[in-house]
């Protein structure tokens, strides 16, 4: 954490999908970095490109998708240039992922124990017996109350929260440097969400694992992370510390998103809304991607594409309003 060397640096990353109906530019010119041990959120609505970003980092973008531009530096090693085999090594040891829907993310015909042991064996090259011991250790670490029972269960026999704990155990058992969590609690109830977030936070600190936390829920962001990147229409429109974002959002989209989230304190007054609809990545507007919905848009926004402007060290915004 002390070293200034970032763990992950994404530079000008663009991933496009070449479908039968034309090219879908899912993400465009994404640049950001994550320091060791840091928890960073990637916030956006559906179609904003946040999942494609995570899949690109994992090297799991599949045909017809393709990384068309940019570099992904992990420990100064460019991941986009790696062979499948070398990527597998990175995925085994250094980067892990937790998915949104833990039911479909686990193979229905194998038991939880099989999943854990298989993963631990390939990751740590240990004997089956040792792997089993490690598996139990991890089931306890993710606070599963009855590890023996869970170990022998099949995925469909567990509750959503339990399954997600198992996923986390599988992802963290190799002590990865980076964990990508793609909406890990969206499918869960709030009381369970709280528990899962807690487990993730505690374990990340314990293992000094950085987390890229992908979500659409601003509440979760405020609770979990130090730094936020807001995505819209396949681009990062604002990067900021959590506090700054919540107190003084710069981009009109971030501002709108914050205001349209119902809070319990405010009562009967009307919610502010962002008009219009979330654009489909296949059908993005010209100029600033947000201009059709932006209350502050002016002439230039329709044609001119804003670049990411550095406001200060930790605050960047992609908006023509902040051009000096």
């Amino acid at each position: 954490m002390e070293s200034n060397q970032p763990l992950l640096e994404v530079e000008h990353l663009s991933t496009h999908f070449f479908t039968e109906n034309g090219v879908v530019p899912s993400i465009n010119d994404i640049t950001f970095s994550i320091a060791p041990g840091e928890i960073v959120a990637l916030v956006g609505e559906s179609g904003s490109g946040k999942s494609v970003t995570s899949m690109s980092i994992m090297g799991l973008v599949e045909s017809p998708g393709k990384i068309v531009n940019g570099r992904i530096l992990f420990n100064n090693q460019d991941l986009t240039a790696l062979s499948y085999r070398k990527y597998q090594k990175i995925r085994r040891n250094d980067i892990s992922m937790v998915f949104q829907e833990p039911l479909t993310a686990l193979n229905p015909v194998f038991s939880i124990g099989f999943h854990l042991v298989e993963t631990i064996i390939v990751q740590q090259k240990v004997s089956k017996k040792k792997a089993k011991a490690i598996a139990f250790e991890w089931l306890e670490k993710v606070r599963i109350p009855n590890p023996k029972e869970v170990f022998a269960s099949y995925p469909h026999e567990l509750s959503g929260g339990m399954r997600q704990r198992v996923m986390i155990a599988m992802a963290l058992s190799s002590h990865p440097r980076l964990l990508i969590a793609d909406e890990p609690t969206t499918a869960l109830d709030v009381t369970i969400q709280k528990q899962i977030l807690d487990v993730m936070k505690t374990l990340s600190k314990e293992l000094d694992t950085a987390i890229l936390f992908i979500t659409h829920d601003l509440g979760v962001v405020a609770e979990m992370v130090d730094r936020v990147m807001v995505m819209y229409g396949g681009e990062i429109v604002e990067t900021s510390s959590v506090k700054q974002l919540f107190h003084t959002p710069k981009h009109p989209y971030s501002e709108g998103l914050l205001k349209s989230t119902p809070k319990i304190q405010q009562s009967d007054e009307k919610l502010d809304t962002i008009g219009g609809a979330v654009p489909s990545p296949a059908n993005l507007p010209t100029g600033c991607k947000f201009h059709p919905r932006c209350p502050k848009a002016f002439d230039r926004c329709t044609s001119e594409h804003p670049s990411l402007i550095n406001l200060n060290n930790e605050n960047q915004v992609r908006c023509l309003l902040y051009e000096s």
């Binding site: 709030v190 998103l257 349209s260 989230t261 319990i264 962002i274 609809a277 979330v278």
Partner: protein, 344 residues
């Protein structure tokens, strides 16, 4: 908000179980009691929110209220009439008065029908308008939910989720109902779209003096739209009251835990907030619910009696009832350190 005059909908002691019995001649009896002895009265012009986690029976309750599922016990009185005592034809007539908005707008619209036909369908079924009148009626409904009248010639797939939900709402309004049951109407939508739909529902309520039964799991949105809130846990209403009372002074430990679990979109809040109570563990298996108070397995303040005796709903304060042997009387903010520790 209009004064709460007369009851519009009375849910009386509703119990609904599903049979999951196994084995030869159903040797192993197994029932899932989705809704257990629930009573709730909704007055004209108000919005009652029902919150609870998945599997708490809120959607089953909505289906019973709509007359889709017959209850095992209890009555649903709409405007003083028991809807399950009506004949099929009478029920059809009565149903003009209460309609439903579903969770997933892409599943509640027939992909093969144009928007016009979708909205016109109830009007045609009740022969309420034909020809020119029908067109006018549909167009005015579209305008009312904030859609352009030219959209009527399109198919549902041409719309975004928010717009589809507007079409669903327009269809529900077509029969000029008094009550609309909203079953998680915003949970399938994007964050920035949810607010639009919540505002629309509120506007329509004022304009047509509608009554809503609003079911949701997103607590902030339920809080935003409701006047009163009922909290459900494993098929029972554990607490009900005015929304601010429920949110500021929850008396049932489950409500309290639920509230403290909501992620608050405010980073300062997390710094200042003491480590508040939240419940450990999972929801028990609903086919084998705990004895006594169903929450006792996860309750931080449970005592022996909770395992044996099921608590009856009792008034805690004005406009607040809780089903708990040991309701917490102190406002959440005033809990002493020590009490907080015990709650945890």
């Amino acid at each position: 908000m209009t004064a709460h005059t007369s009851p519009l909908l009375e849910i009386k002691d509703i119990t609904k179980s599903f049979d999951f019995s196994k084995g030869w001649m159903k040797k192993k009896q197994q029932f899932l009691t989705a809704v257990n002895n629930v009573s709730l009265t909704i007055y004209e012009g108000e919005t009652v929110g029902i919150v609870g986690e998945s599997g708490c029976g809120k959607s089953t309750l909505a289906n019973v209220v709509m007359g889709v599922l017959p209850p095992d016990e209890g009555k649903i009185m709409f405007n003083g009439t028991d809807i399950f005592s009506l004949s099929k034809k009478e029920l059809k007539n009565k149903r003009k008065g209460f309609q439903m908005v579903f969770q997933d707008p892409s599943s509640s619209l027939n992909p093969r029908m144009k928007v016009f036909d979708i909205i016109a369908e109830p009007l045609r079924a009740y022969k309420m308008a034909v020809g020119e009148r029908l067109i006018e009626e549909v167009e005015s409904l579209l305008t009312n939910v904030g859609l352009d009248i030219s959209y009527k010639e399109r198919y549902p797939h041409e719309f975004s989720g928010g717009q589809r939900q507007r079409i669903v709402i327009a269809r529900a309004l077509a029969l000029k109902p008094k009550l609309i049951v909203c079953d998680e109407p915003v949970s399938a939508l994007d964050v920035s779209i949810q607010a639009q739909i919540l505002n629309l529902l509120q506007e329509l309520q004022e304009r047509y003096s509608l009554t809503y039964l609003f079911i949701g799991h997103g607590l902030p949105s339920v809080h935003y739209i409701s006047d009163r809130i009922a909290v459900m846990y494993l098929g029972e209403i554990v607490e009900i009251g005015k929304k601010d009372v429920i949110f500021n002074n929850p008396a049932h430990p489950y409500t309290r835990a639920l509230l403290s679990s909501i992620p608050v979109p405010d980073p300062d809040h997390h710094e200042n907030r003491p480590q508040e109570s939240y419940i450990l563990g999972d929801m028990p298996n609903p086919t084998d619910p705990p004895s006594g108070c169903k929450f006792h397995t996860r309750c931080p303040i449970a005592q022996d009696i909770c395992k044996e005796k099921s608590p009856a709903p009792a008034s805690v304060r004005d406009n607040q009832e809780a089903a708990c042997h040991f309701p917490i009387m102190e406002p959440a903010a005033e809990l002493s350190q020590e009490q907080r520790a015990s709650v945890y």
